[in-house]
Symmetry: C2
Subunit: 619 residues, 2 copies
């Protein structure tokens, strides 16, 4: 059989298996798989260099199915590569099967989850950055994208950044099958328009018939020859190609073929077969080993005024010195987040992502897939831009470190558009996440170091304003713990705070001490996991809790504390101080007070709880 | 004075005032204001048609400062238009002043908030849709954009959609001042590259010297003549233009000039002056009045199986019949969300936003600025893509109705990428938001109707699966209330549920009834505001609460209930059932059970609480 016939035969098998698996499952996306079967057959049999026995081989190519709903095609490729059995393939979408509805790294050959469209190219870009600038290995990154998903702006963020970073090792295979979920795409089969757009951003483009295996092969060869310019292969295809009953027809998105139609289509395609492909092996070059140093964290003098964002920058730079696997990214605000210190010290490990937060998080996901330890920073408010990417990073089982600066009303004059006031809620509601919010520079340094070794999505919230250093540099701060700033056995109430409000709490405590009211102050710097034991002990011993946070009332520290206390008997008297109305501009001091999260409001809340207690006793 | 001299004189005043206001404030963005002063002087004096006495005039042009940090320039324009006094201008960024660090609709001439970059063009697109397709009035939408913000993909979503919708009434004025916050932009002064990109998406482009007032004037004239094609004016400018000490210099982003430098710059620019401009008045055409009908909501038979997403589609169509101000948008999934029913019935009031959720929300913000009542829908999971836009919509004081379908693990086979599991947390943490989660079709219809008249950001969560109708169509459901599905005076526990888990709760309640355990079931369909009174009463009367939700444990119904109960004395025994580990694929039934939010887990939790109680009594 000629090479071309072999490719056609493999494509037929991929189609047959995509149909069989989805019809067996009773759901899934056969038509979206069929349009790309020729593209993937030629890639798998003729171009991909990948050791299925060793999925973490550093020289493996990377294949990202950005159109994750075409997972049946991907799984059919795994079967053709001998990695998945036919029996496993037919368990698609059933409970416990790693062949989920959309690809996820519960399979060893899937590096990142897809299924939220418009993410794959941006993530692949991160892998390509690793290949070109860090690993310096000749692997290639292949991204299969759908035409519908080019409506997502994140695709154009990736297109722009890939050209800017001269990622010749990145190839986007655009499956232009004309039909979205509910009807035609904006551009339908206007492949020239896609090409003009990609070229205007600096890409090489190749328009082909996506069912012509030789044309596909030639396009891949051209892509493989690229060194400085990414390649977009724009393939005109037919959705459902090969199954006459659904081919190029409306209303067949995301629907399995009924059994009879499936049997007919399988027969038309030549029936079931079990061809196995010898996939090309990667080179066996290794990344150069890099020396590991000792971590020497910055330290700060007690009483000194240092912004926690400043300490983030210092600590990140220190981590960079000790750990060559640490890399940093920022969204064009590195002189505000202080990621710039790392950028200046280790420019080869810093990636400027400009004002493209989705791309920033996606690149970090791609980098960690290659074993790097990315720290990505921007204003806390602007991480909201990337929430879908953060959510999906959790499905990718990615290890990400995110830093959001300029949290809360305490940023002052810039006003509410720049204030992160929902970031704790957003980041807490990420599967398996860790949420940290330090109040002083020494604590920040400790937590930044802890982030590097923490699995999952780890978020650090930093403050714009300088705050006094209140902890000695020797003090240790474990994730999941808290710091009791002040306690006695005659405390009448506890103030639970984090970050900027710790300092407000200390001020309130001092004012109350002057009135003869002893108050405990708990610094709950680990917002998730929160320190149940210390909180419950404080609740039980003092009987009254004020939680104060520079964040909306929902989903932040207050509710984290309530969740920790739920079931306590007796439940403490409780007041939650948080931001409840839209702030404006003003000084940090004015805005903290206006929001009712400053020292004065805290002291008032404590007095209220104590008065309640007295009233209860009288009752 | 010639027209050109007048424009130059006005530009000088705008520069002087931008410098004075920021130096007085001690913060702000003078250099980003100075680069665009000529562009805005010619617009204000020669092209904008706007009645400052009547900011809601339907024929007013719309000016969106997408580069919101250039607010000093905008406020200086307001002074030049006679709308703001010099004294007010100099209160920039102080507590209580509506001249906030970034523009917000606390000023009558600001329609939408900006300050999160990359949003203005997408919002302006919504206004342009209103002008062309709904109002059918000849007003124009002018968007001042920065070059840095074109790195945001949302800009390219807007560029594509504007061309697709043939918005000749939309003009983007791109201020290419070369410098971002921390250094040069990716393209620096390569205006030809910007032009090629915009043209490849179908825009007309004009490259000009952004300090040549006559060239600016000619460009605006060409934009004004456009009918079917949007215009991008790509203006090469110098950041800080006119203030020699900062002009085209690094490290001057977002910094006020020191007093001496400011005085020198003001003197160089000809000193302080108070020219007032006669801004062109709009036409006085009115939108045609449209007949209002009676609302006839759909109704469903008790016991029938109807997905709440299906009821959303039915109710939205009914609203559309009754209210001509209701419009709908969707992100290429309207056959899943069932917005397609509205789209088919009222195609002229439906805007397909394809897979571009940021653009969808932004267009809705623009439409509501023109008085329309937009409903925008997609999968709940994909609303995470637009979180920054939703957050900013709250700063815009926008009235938005969002619907997220396919919530929770109960979607089944498609897997975690498609499951909205953080949407309640995300939407609760939006200032002034309303969060609704109906469990049956009649309830959904009532709530959709209530959404139309609700202020602020209103979110409705719908379910993919069919669920039985449990409420008669006559029953009413107020926002902020709840429905007690079953109660008696001998209830030993309360199950609080919403949406899909209400049905699980009812099943658990029936099983427990068979064991002689009487349980109350509260349907907390209004997650925010949540019904404090009913929850506290249930806690007090039954002494034990199980909250169960198809959502991550953080920030959703469970914590909303805890916040409502905080301070209760005694606090009820409490168990919170929520999704705590990453789901996979499976049937809805399997996944609800695997997550521990199904009827069996609920019944177990109730038994546990009752056993606790007995143990307490023995103790």
């Amino acid at each position: 059989m000629s090479q071309i016939e072999q490719w056609r035969e493999l494509a037929a098998q991929l189609r047959v298996d995509s149909i069989r698996a989805t019809t067996q499952a009773g759901s899934g996306h056969p038509t979206s798989s069929l349009s790309a079967a020729d593209l993937m057959a030629v890639l798998l049999a003729g171009h991909l260099r990948y050791d299925f026995q060793n999925p973490t081989h550093p020289n493996n190519d990377h294949l990202v199915f950005s159109k994750g709903h075409a997972s049946p095609l991907l799984y059919a490729m795994f079967k053709a590569a001998g990695a998945v059995s036919d029996e496993e393939l037919l368990k698609l979408r059933t409970l416990g099967s790693p062949l989920e509805g959309h690809p996820a790294p519960v399979l060893p050959w899937v590096e990142v989850a897809t299924g939220s469209l418009g993410q794959g190219l941006a993530i692949g870009l991160g892998m390509a950055l690793a290949g070109k600038y860090l690993d310096k290995l000749p692997y290639r990154v292949w991204v299969l994208s759908g035409d519908s998903e080019t409506a997502e702006g994140s695709v154009w963020e990736a297109v722009e950044h890939a050209a800017f970073y001269k990622l010749g090792n990145l190839t986007c295979i655009l499956d232009v099958n004309r039909l979205g979920q509910r009807g035609p795409t904006m551009l339908q089969w206007d492949t020239a328009a896609y090409a003009a757009r990609a070229r205007s951003f600096g890409w090489d483009t190749i328009e082909i018939d996506g069912h012509d295996v030789d044309a596909i092969h030639q396009a891949y060869r051209r892509a493989e020859a690229a060194t400085e310019v990414p390649t977009m292969i724009i393939a005109r295809t037919r959705k459902g190609k090969g199954a006459a009953v659904v081919e190029n027809k409306d209303d067949w998105h995301g629907k399995a073929l009924p059994k009879d139609d499936a049997a007919k289509a399988v027969a038309d395609l030549g029936g079931v077969r079990h061809v196995t492909v010898a996939v090309g092996k990667p080179d066996d070059r290794r990344p150069s080993p890099v020396p590991v140093g000792n971590l020497s964290l910055p330290s700060y003098k007690m009483g000194e005024g240092v912004a926690t964002r400043r300490a983030y920058g210092d600590a990140l730079k220190a981590l960079g010195a000790a750990r060559p696997d640490v890399v940093a990214l920022d969204g064009e605000v590195n002189n505000s987040t202080y990621a710039e210190d790392f950028a200046k010290a280790y420019p080869q490990r810093y990636f400027e992502m400009y004002i493209a937060e989705q791309q920033m998080v996606a690149a970090a996901v791609g980098l960690q897939a290659r074993g790097y330890v990315p720290f990505a920073s921007t204003f806390a408010a602007f991480l909201t831009r990337a929430y879908d990417f953060i959510r999906m990073a959790a499905v990718s089982r990615a290890n990400l470190r995110l830093c959001g600066s300029h949290a809360g009303v305490s940023i002052g004059q810039d006003g509410p558009s720049q204030m992160g006031l929902e970031d704790l809620a957003m980041m807490r509601a990420v599967a398996g996440s860790t949420v940290l919010y330090p109040c002083d520079a020494n604590q920040t340094a400790q937590l930044v170091a802890a982030m590097a070794d923490r699995e999952g999505i780890v978020y650090l919230r930093t403050t714009r304003e300088k705050t006094p250093v209140i902890y000695p540099s020797e003090q240790r701060f474990a994730i999941g713990s808290s710091a009791v700033v002040r306690a006695s056995d005659r405390d009448q109430a506890t103030i639970v705070a984090a970050g900027i409000t710790v300092h407000e709490a200390i001020n309130a405590q001092q004012v109350l001490a002057g009135e003869g009211i002893a108050v405990r102050v708990v610094d709950a710097y680990s917002v998730k996991p929160v320190d149940h034991r210390t909180l419950r002990q404080a609740a039980s011993e003092t009987g009254a809790l004020v939680v104060v946070e520079d964040h909306w009332a929902e989903g932040g520290l207050g509710e984290a504390v309530l969740a920790a206390l739920a079931g306590s008997d007796p439940f403490p008297r409780f007041i939650h101080l948080a931001v409840r109305t839209m702030p404006g501009s003003g000084t940090p001091r004015e805005l903290l007070d206006a929001a009712g999260v400053g020292a004065r409001a805290i002291a008032d809340a404590v007095r209220t709880l104590i008065a309640q207690h007295s009233a209860d006793h009288v009752r």
